[in-house]
């Protein structure tokens, strides 16, 4: 508990965290407002029939990327600014601190996810309803939004894992974004269903965007993404515990 508190203070006593979450939410809010107010309803209905997407929730993906980066920063900022030395002096075994960092990554993901749901749902649902659009059933909406919240938490953990492995701040941010959104999306192009087990498509399943034959359902997508995050965090923790801290 004390380490969680320490990590929470670390995260929320820098402006970066507030700025990233603030800007992300602002953009999501603007987008949700404009999209649900202006998008052609005919187009949406058509999409709905194809069962690939639904009117809500639709986001820019910006907040999602920022949460991934925030996960990276939770650990790389310690190496970047040399605070890793004092952190690991307080926890010489190191892994308890990484466990606390994981806890904080998950928590900040949940908080950001809930904030997204509030902003997105709070704007899109009344706007769409006002325009007479047909919204998904309430329990379907809850499922989708729950998937969003879980995905944000897992993304932050995923970023923290990459950060622990790479250590260099810029390198880790690039690695996390490139791996998540580019490299792991490539197997989708391969024949067969191997791509489903890579983060990009698992995220899609978790969001409830991909439904159909041979694809993972929402829960399975969540498990696949969680397994990736857990693997990366475990590898990162092993590396941090065995490497020298010289910054």
């Amino acid at each position: 508990m004390n380490l969680l508190q320490s990590e929470w203070i670390k995260l929320f006593t820098t402006r970066t965290t507030w700025a990233m979450l603030g800007i992300g939410l602002l953009c999501e809010g603007l987008f949700a407002g404009l999209f649900s107010g202006l998008v052609s309803l005919d187009g949406l209905t058509e999409l709905e029939e194809l069962e690939t997407t639904e009117p809500v929730p639709t986001g820019t993906g910006l907040l999602m990327v920022l949460v991934l980066i925030l996960g990276v920063l939770i650990i790389t900022s310690e190496f970047r600014h040399g605070t890793s030395s004092s952190t690991f002096l307080a926890t010489p075994k190191r892994w308890p601190d990484l466990l606390a960092k994981l806890g904080i990554a998950l928590a900040v993901g949940v908080v950001a996810g809930l904030a997204f749901v509030l902003v997105n749902g709070g704007l899109s649902i009344p706007l769409f309803e006002g325009r007479g659009a047909e919204l998904p059933a309430t329990d379907r909406l809850v499922e989708i939004y729950a998937g969003v919240v879980v995905s944000f938490a897992l993304l932050a953990a995923f970023g923290m894992g990459i950060g622990a492995i790479v250590r260099n701040q810029v390198g880790a941010m690039i690695a996390a974004i490139a791996f998540f959104f580019i490299v792991s999306a490539l197997p989708e192009l391969l024949p067969g269903s191997i791509g489903e087990y890579f983060p990009a498509q698992a995220l899609g399943s978790l969001h409830g965007h991909v439904e159909g034959d041979g694809t993972l359902n929402q829960l399975e997508g969540g498990f696949v993404l969680a397994a990736w995050a857990a693997g990366l965090v475990a590898l990162g923790t092993l590396l941090v515990c065995s490497r020298d801290v010289s910054e």
Partner: protein, 299 residues
């Protein structure tokens, strides 16, 4: 049992052997100066004692145990490693709060140490705006947070003004007087000369000398320039007593290994008048570098 023990410690980084079979002990209740030129392996040794890096060979022990096995780390060891190791966007107080929370140290102690290092008033400013001296004080505050039994400070005097240096000296002396163990590194002997009871001198990762301040300065030998009425006779007499005597020239001669008192008394015995007795150079500094065999080293 020594509070800190370095036993046959070696640390290799690629092809560089940063620390080479180094052994020494540090006792409680005294200030031990850890001296060596920049790049001689002081920081590496300190990091090994703090459990931040793994020795290639040998051991670094804290109270007889490996540093990673410390039960209550911040109450055992307080360390100030670098005055730059802060998140620039976080304020000084919050930096200390993160450490206090991790070690279950009450928040009131944060304000106490801020007052102790005289940072009250600046604690809510972001570290970005701190001077080097203020950062040193914040690093010290972090080290003192858990009222540790052992203090390890890496070049804490860097960036301090003369007033700050005096303050630091008093602080370290007070800590040692309370029975704590203090290991403080420096590349300048003059910085620790007035504070340290003991010295550990290293160079290229190896031990050069360890002993009390008095022992080491005598061993290094202060050079004294002597002008006298019969220089040749005095030089011979001093050489017979075991002092090292330089060439006798017009300006007199230089003696090493004899104190001013010994030279004066010998001159009296010989009935020789002394015109001048002058210690050469900044004595302590010089003897230190002679010990290290590198007079031209940057000081």
């Amino acid at each position: 049992m020594p509070e800190l023990e370095v036993r046959n410690l070696s640390k290799r980084y690629g092809k560089t052997l940063a620390v080479d079979d180094l052994s020494f002990e540090v006792e409680a209740g005294r200030v031990t100066g850890f001296l060596g030129p920049n790049g001689s392996g002081k920081t590496t040794t300190m990091r090994a004692l703090l459990g931040l890096l793994r020795p290639t060979r040998g051991q670094a022990l804290v109270e007889g145990r490996r540093p990673t096995e410390m039960a209550d780390p911040l109450r055992t060891i307080g360390a100030a490693l670098e005055a730059t190791a802060f998140h620039p966007g976080r304020n000084g107080r919050n930096h200390l709060r993160t450490l206090a929370a991790a070690a279950r140290i009450p928040r009131s102690r944060v304000d106490e140490v801020l007052e102790l290092v005289e940072l009250t008033g600046a604690e809510r400013r972001r570290v970005k705006g701190y001077s080097l001296g203020m950062r040193q004080r914040l690093a010290l505050a972090a080290a003192l947070l858990g009222e540790p039994r052992i203090l390890i400070l890496d070049e804490p005097a860097n960036g301090l003004d003369p007033k700050g240096m005096r303050w630091l000296r008093d602080l370290l002396r007070a800590q040692a007087a309370e029975g704590r163990t203090v290991l403080v590194s420096s590349h300048l002997l003059s910085e620790v000369a007035q504070t340290a009871d003991e010295l550990v001198v290293i160079r290229d990762g190896s031990l050069v000398a360890q002993g009390s301040m008095a022992e080491l300065t005598a061993k290094g030998g202060v050079r004294i320039r002597v002008r006298a009425s019969q220089p040749d006779q005095l030089a011979t007499a001093l050489a017979e007593q075991g002092a090292t005597v330089g060439d006798v020239g017009e300006g007199g001669f230089e003696v090493r290994g004899a104190s001013g008192e010994q030279i004066g008394e010998e001159a009296l015995r010989q009935g020789i008048a002394i015109y001048e007795l002058a210690p050469q150079g900044s004595t302590l500094e010089e003897s230190f570098f002679e010990l290290m065999g590198e007079e031209e080293d940057e000081a």
